[in-house]
C-alpha cells in the first residue's frame, strides 16, 4: 500500500460511504466532548493525514478488551477503526499467521519508525526472564520492548496494561507488570477498565490519530474526557445515595425500587470511568443499571481488596494479613478500652497499697 494513503482512502476502500464517514466524525467529536466544529476538523484530518499505523499487541490478558472493542455500540466506529488497524497487526483479528504475521511487525518498524501507535492489551510477566508469556518463540516482554522502542506513543488497553489486573493479584507468581513500569521512555495513555468501554477505546484512538497528539491526561495518565469523574458523580441512582436509601440485600424492596447499591459494595464512589454516561453495548445498560454494584474494575488494585460486596474493603497492612479498617480499628479501640480499664484498676490498687505516711502526706498536700 502507498505510504501516503489516508484513513479516508482506507475507509472508502472498505465500502464506507462519505455520508457514513461524516456521521462517524460527528459522533466521535461528540463522544470526545468536543464542540460541533471539531467534526469538520476530524474529517479533515482523516482525509488528509497519512494513515498512522496501529500495532496491537497482546500480553498476559483474557482478550476482553478486544471483545469489547469489536462490539462497539456504534457499528460504524468498529467497522472504521477495525478496518484501519487490522490491516497492520493484531494477532487475534488479523488474517495472517505465524511468520507472515511476525514479518508485519518488522516491516512496520522499518517503514514507520517512530510513527506508529503501539496499543498494548495485557501486560508482560517479568519473572523467569518473561518465560510465562512466549510469542513466536520469544518472551513477550522482549517483543514489547522492541516495538515500544520504535513507536510514537503507547495506549495501555484495559486494567491489565494499566494496572496489572487479576494476573498481578497477590502473590503475583509471574510478576505480571503494567506497561508504565516496563516502558519508561514513551508517552503512555492508560485506558483502564476490565474491559474498557468500546466507545471509549475508539474515541481515544481516533483522538490520537486525528489530532496527532495525546488526549489531555489526568495524574494517573488516563484521558480526562472519559476518566475525569467517578461513576458516582453521574450515577442515575445518586439521589437515593444522598437520601440514604440503600439496597441492603439483592432481593429486597430497595433492590426492586432501584435504590443505591453502595451498601452492597458498589465502588462507584471511588471509580473513575465513563460507565454512568456512555454506558455499555451502545447505551443498553451498565452494571448499576442492571442492579449490581460497580466492582471498580478500572481502578488500581481492585482485584486485591477482599469482598466486592462491602463498602469497607480490605487493607493489606502487614504482609499476608488482610483485614478491613473497621476490623483493625475496632480491635485497637477495644484493646485501648480494656487497657484503660485495667490500668485504672491497677492505679486504684497501687493507691490502696501505697505506704501510709506517704499517702497521708500526699493527701494533706493535695
Amino acid at each position: 500500500m502507498p505510504a501516503h494513503e489516508t484513513f479516508y482512502d482506507v475507509m472508502r476502500r472498505h465500502g464506507i460511504t462519505r455520508r457514513s464517514f461524516l456521521k462517524f466524525c460527528s459522533l466521535t467529536a461528540a463522544g470526545l466532548g468536543l464542540a460541533p466544529e471539531f467534526a469538520g476538523r476530524i474529517a479533515h484530518a482523516l482525509e488528509t493525514k497519512p494513515r498512522t499505523p496501529v500495532i496491537w499487541l497482546h500480553g498476559l490478558e483474557c482478550t476482553c478488551c478486544t471483545e469489547s472493542f469489536i462490539r462497539s455500540g456504534n457499528p460504524l466506529a468498529s467497522d472504521v477503526i477495525l478496518s484501519m488497524i487490522s490491516l497492520d497487526y493484531d494477532d487475534t483479528l488479523m488474517a495472517a499467521a505465524g511468520h507472515q504475521a511476525e514479518e508485519i511487525l518488522q516491516q512496520t518498524v522499518e517503514k514507520y519508525d517512530g510513527q506508529y501507535i503501539l496499543a498494548c492489551e495485557g501486560n508482560p510477566p517479568l519473572n523467569e526472564d518473561g518465560m510465562y508469556c512466549i510469542q513466536a518463540g520469544k518472551p513477550y516482554v522482549e517483543k514489547l520492548r522492541y516495538m515500544a522502542d520504535h513507536c510514537k506513543a503507547i495506549i495501555a488497553w484495559g486494567s491489565c496494561a494499566s494496572w496489572g489486573c487479576v494476573q498481578a493479584a497477590h502473590p503475583n507468581p509471574t510478576r505480571a507488570t503494567p506497561i508504565h513500569k516496563v516502558i519508561l521512555d514513551k508517552p503512555i495513555v492508560k485506558v483502564p477498565g476490565c474491559p474498557p468501554i468500546a466507545e471509549v477505546m475508539t474515541g481515544v484512538i481516533t483522538y490520537m490519530i486525528a489530532f496527532d497528539q495525546l488526549p489531555p491526561l489526568d495524574r494517573q495518565g488516563r484521558p480526562k474526557m472519559f476518566y475525569g469523574q467517578r461513576l458516582h458523580d453521574k450515577c442515575y441512582r445518586r439521589p437515593h445515595f444522598d437520601a440514604g436509601q440503600f439496597v441492603e440485600k439483592f432481593d429486597d424492596e430497595g433492590a426492586r425500587k432501584g435504590y443505591c447499591l453502595y451498601k452492597i459494595g458498589c465502588k462507584g464512589p471511588t471509580t473513575y470511568n465513563a460507565c454512568s454516561t456512555v454506558e455499555w453495548n451502545g447505551g443498553l445498560s451498565w452494571p448499576v443499571k442492571s442492579g449490581h454494584g460497580c466492582l471498580g474494575c478500572a481502578e488500581e488494585n481492585f482485584w486485591d481488596k477482599g469482598s466486592f460486596y462491602s463498602p469497607v474493603s480490605n487493607l493489606n497492612v502487614t504482609g499476608n494479613v488482610e483485614a478491613t479498617a473497621n476490623q483493625i480499628g475496632g480491635t485497637l479501640a477495644g484493646a485501648a478500652a480494656i487497657g484503660v480499664a485495667a490500668h485504672a484498676a491497677a492505679t486504684v490498687i497501687q493507691k490502696a497499697t501505697a505506704k501510709k505516711p506517704r499517702a497521708s502526706k500526699e493527701m494533706s498536700n493535695g
Binding site: A243, K263, T270, E299, E300, L332, A337, T347, N365, G366
Partner: protein, 235 residues
C-alpha cells in the same frame, strides 16, 4: 523544666494554656466528635430509608456535617500550628519534640516506668510530660495532618479536577493511585483517633487522682496547680 524556684521547689499555680490554645482544644475536640460519628456513618451507612428520595437528605446531611467539621478541624490545626510559633513556651510543646535533650529522653523513660507501675515516683510537669508530649505530637500533628491530606484528597473527588482541593491535595493519588485504598486508610485513621481519645480522656482524669498536679481543670481555666510544694524531680 523552666520555672524552678531558688530552693529547687516548683510552686504553682502557673498560667500554661493561653486562651487561643484552650479555644482550639475544645473546637478541635468538638470537630473530631462530629467527624468520627459522621465519618463512621459514611463508611457504614444507617439502615435504608423508604419513601420518596426527595423526602430525605440523610447521607447528604451527614456529608455536609463531615465536610463542615473537617474545615473547622483543618483550619483550627493550621491556626494552632501558627500559634505554636507566637504563643508561650508551652504552646510549642505540641509542635516541637525536644529530642536533642537528654533530659527529655530520661523523662520519657521515667514516664514509661511510671505508667507501667515499675516505679511509684512521679515528677511534676508544668506542660506535658515527655510521654504525653510524644503522643500529642503523633496524633495531633502527624495523624491530624494525615487525616487532613487524605480527607481533602477524597473531598477533591467531588469538587473535581482543577479545583483547589485537587490542586493542593491531589498528590495523594500519585502516592496511592487507588482512591478506595485512600478511603480505607482515612477510615483507619479515624479509629486511631478514637484510640487516642480513649487514652487521652483517661489520662486527663487519672492525672487528677494519681499525679502531683491537676488535670482537666488546666484546659478549662489555663492554670496548672500542684498538689505539693516539693521540687519537680520524681519522688
Amino acid at each position: 523544666m523552666a520555672i524552678i524556684s531558688d530552693e529547687q521547689k516548683l510552686v504553682g499555680p502557673i498560667y500554661v494554656f493561653q486562651v487561643p490554645v484552650r479555644i482550639w482544644h475544645w473546637l478541635h475536640a468538638l470537630s473530631i466528635f462530629a467527624l468520627i460519628i459522621t465519618g463512621y456513618l459514611i463508611a457504614n451507612p444507617l439502615p435504608s430509608l423508604s419513601g420518596e428520595a426527595s423526602d430525605h437528605f440523610l447521607m447528604g446531611n451527614l456529608r455536609l456535617v463531615h465536610f463542615s467539621s473537617a474545615f473547622v478541624f483543618a483550619i483550627g490545626l493550621f491556626v494552632r500550628i501558627y500559634f505554636a510559633m507566637v504563643g508561650n513556651e508551652y504552646s510549642r510543646e505540641l509542635l516541637i519534640l525536644p529530642v536533642w535533650r537528654g533530659s527529655w529522653w530520661r523523662g520519657l523513660w521515667h514516664e514509661v516506668k511510671f505508667y507501667s507501675f515499675m516505679t511509684r515516683k512521679t515528677g511534676k510537669n508544668i506542660g506535658h510530660n515527655p510521654l504525653a508530649q510524644l503522643f500529642m505530637w503523633l496524633t495531633n500533628i502527624l495523624l491530624a495532618l494525615f487525616m487532613v491530606c487524605t480527607g481533602f484528597a477524597l473531598y477533591s473527588q467531588g469538587t473535581g479536577a482543577g479545583s483547589w482541593a485537587d490542586t493542593l491535595f491531589g498528590w495523594v493519588f500519585v502516592l496511592q493511585a487507588s482512591s478506595q485504598t485512600v478511603r480505607m486508610w482515612h477510615l483507619l485513621g479515624m479509629w486511631l483517633m478514637l484510640v487516642f481519645i480513649i487514652i487521652h480522656i483517661y489520662m486527663a482524669i487519672r492525672a487528677d487522682f494519681a499525679s502531683r498536679q491537676n488535670g482537666i481543670s488546666a484546659m478549662i481555666d489555663g492554670w496548672r496547680t500542684f498538689k505539693d510544694d516539693g521540687p519537680a524531680d520524681p519522688r
